[in-house]
């Protein structure tokens, strides 16, 4: 499952991710990370049996953990299968099938929202 870890400004300089990984032994597979002086945001994949313990560990250190359970969805009526969304997705959710139709592997989605802005036909939404 995909999770998002928000790290507030007051703890952004502390190695809380590394600490939690060492403490729990959970294999956190980080797919996106964004840090600046005001906050940190990490998107990662974790197996569901390891989720509880890493969440507890991160939360105890002051982070916020959200489950990303509403991946990208496509309105098939609106979509013209142009493929414009393919190249902007950082985790390759979109690809062409053999018949040049669009394939959407939404399990991989980290909900960054980039493809929504790219789609010329307003066919993509998050959170439904």
């Amino acid at each position: 499952m995909m999770i998002k870890i928000n790290i507030a400004a007051n703890i952004v300089t502390k190695p809380i991710l590394a600490e939690s990984i060492l403490e729990t032994g959970a294999l956190l597979n980080i797919s996106q990370a964004h840090f600046d002086p005001t906050r940190g945001e990490v998107v990662a994949e974790i197996t569901s049996d390891q989720f509880r313990k890493i969440k507890d560990s991160l939360v105890s250190k002051g982070a916020e953990v959200l489950v990303l359970d509403t991946p990208i969805s496509r309105d098939e009526e609106e979509c013209v299968e142009c493929g414009a969304c393919i190249s902007v997705c950082p985790v390759k959710v979109f690809s062409f099938a053999d018949d040049w139709g669009l394939e959407v592997d939404s399990d991989k989605c980290i909900q960054c929202g980039t493809c929504i802005k790219m789609c010329p036909h307003n066919a993509l939404t998050l959170g439904h």
Binding site: V80, A84, I86, S87, V88, G101, K117, M118, P120, H121
Partner: protein, 500 residues
């Protein structure tokens, strides 16, 4: 030498013996039988494309009101249509945007709504004349209430199109979609192997009067499109068709974020195989069609060509740019292009569509020239102030405050030990630092993402950068990132004030 006439082919369409294949299928047929064998075997090759055609629009005739009005300005669902023609005619263009909804709804959306049979609110105004006394008209119509709704696209079905990428450090929003920073992606348009004009590059069968597939119905080629530039491989067509007969399957409004609206138009052209040269031309493949990858990061008419590329490479999903594998995205739908080529094939097979010869050939020698500009085009170096003081990033913010006060500058570019620009501080950053009472070095309070200008950049480009980034000054830097000047929104406003 095989020779066929249009009459013979249409005879075969009539008696059901015609052999039609799509341009994709033709590749293998010519591969197997050779051009001569294929020319004997195949009578018609169908093509198709479905992509954004900004240069699209529709002529509408509303009929006369009581009392009559000669409309001088009008809006359809709040999108302005051009009505400076006669009394109750107007042309709605795909890229015109709504006055209230902005980029999210434009002429293209009005056109799609019409095709879908939806109601459209009309508002028209007029100065009033003796013969047309009415001054305002407000009504609600749908496509069935119109006398005519004739699609007329001044420039469509580009023979091929440049591919786009972006070398800058920020995302660009263009009619080629979102272009990620540092050449993060490449977008392209066009149907490659199915591309209508590439299957008849000498325009032997495509010309004025050619009957085509347009938006799900029969349409016609009016002649060459605007910017028709055949020598460069950028031929274009002007097309017409009856919007009332079109289908929302093939006429779809689009919005490119940060750019505006456009219309996806499905069109396809049948190529009658009159001889083996035509058969050979219709065997064109994605690997035979070459186009340029342009850097849209350079806001100039002459965008640099990063490399040439074939449609085969573009359609493989990624291409190499300066040693980096970059993912590619088409903007047009190959699946729908294929559907169009197949639908057209079916029409011909069923005897519902007959091929035609052009009544006039398209010009082969016109060029697309640049605009003649008679007014000087000022550059940043002409208006920038070269009297610019910089400050080192490791200076204290009190020093920055002092410079700002003494020099009465609002913007202070920040440089590193090698004098390269690394940030900018403004009087506002300093006030913030004072109020918070927590930082003391310039590098802690400066903005690191500085929007800059080049000395030889057109002033219009700087004006756009100031506007779209919501900043009030741009440090001007040379190729070594050394600060050579500064240009402010004041400098530009003064210049523009003189221009108007």
């Amino acid at each position: 030498m095989v020779k066929k006439t249009i009459h013979e082919i249409n005879g075969k369409i009539r008696d059901g013996s015609v052999n039609v294949v799509t341009a994709e299928e033709m590749v293998d047929i010519v591969g197997e039988l050779g051009a001569e064998g294929a020319a004997k075997e195949v009578d018609v090759v169908t093509t198709g494309t479905f992509g954004a055609m900004c240069s699209s629009g529709v002529w509408l005739n509303f009929g006369h009101s009581e009392p009559p009005i000669r409309i001088s300005k009008m809006w359809l669902n709040d999108v302005e249509a051009y009505s400076g023609v006669a009394a109750v005619d107007a042309y709605i263009g795909a890229t015109q945007q709504s006055q209230s909804k902005g980029m999210d709804y434009g002429g293209a959306h009005v056109i799609e709504d019409l095709v879908r049979g939806n109601s459209i609110d009309i508002h028209g105004i007029s100065p009033g004349t003796d013969c047309y006394p009415r001054k305002v008209i407000d009504t609600t119509i749908n496509i069935y209430d119109l006398n005519q709704a004739i699609m007329l696209n001044p420039r469509n079905s580009y023979q091929k199109y440049n591919a786009a990428t972006n070398s800058t450090n920020h995302t660009l929003h263009t009619y080629m979609g979102a272009l990620l920073p540092h050449n993060g992606n490449v977008t392209y348009s066009g149907a490659g192997v199915l591309s209508p004009m590439h299957n008849d590059p000498n325009y032997e069968t495509i010309g004025t009067g050619t009957r085509i597939f347009l938006g799900g119905t029969q349409g016609y080629v009016v002649g060459e499109g605007t910017q028709h530039s055949p020598a460069a491989g950028f031929g274009t067509l002007m097309l017409k068709g009856d919007l009332k007969e079109m289908s929302p399957e093939y006429i779809r409004a689009a919005t490119f974020k940060g750019y505006g609206s456009s219309l996806y138009v499905g069109m396809g052209i049948p190529i009658p195989v009159l001889n083996e040269d035509i058969a050979k031309a219709t065997a064109v493949t994605d690997d035979d069609i070459v186009t340029n990858v342009l850097d849209y990061g350079i806001p100039s008419r002459d965008r640099p060509v990063l490399r040439t590329v074939t449609y085969g490479e573009l359609r493989s999903g990624s291409i190499d740019i300066n040693g980096k594998e970059v993912p590619t995205s088409p903007m047009s739908s190959f699946k729908k292009s294929r559907e169009i080529a197949n639908e057209l094939k079916q029409w011909i097979r069923n005897g519902e569509f007959f091929v035609s010869m052009p009544v006039e050939r398209l010009p082969r020698d016109t060029a697309c020239n640049a605009m003649k500009q008679t007014n000087a085009n000022p550059h940043v170096m002409d208006i920038m102030s070269s009297d610019v003081t910089t400050i080192r990033e490791d200076a204290g913010f009190h020093d920055a405050a002092k410079v700002i006060m003494e020099k009465q500058f609002n913007h202070l570019p920040v440089v590193d030990s090698g004098n390269h620009l690394v940030g900018i501080v403004t009087a506002w950053d300093i006030s913030k630092a004072v109020a918070k009472d927590e930082h003391n070095l310039v590098k802690d309070i400066m903005t690191r993402k500085v929007v800059t200008a080049n000395p030889d950049e057109a002033v219009d480009v700087s004006a756009f950068k100031l506007d779209s980034n919501n900043v009030s000054a741009l440090p001007v830097i040379d190729s070594n990132r050394h600060v050579v000047g500064i240009v402010t929104s004041d400098d530009i406003s003064k210049l523009l004030a003189r221009r108007h």
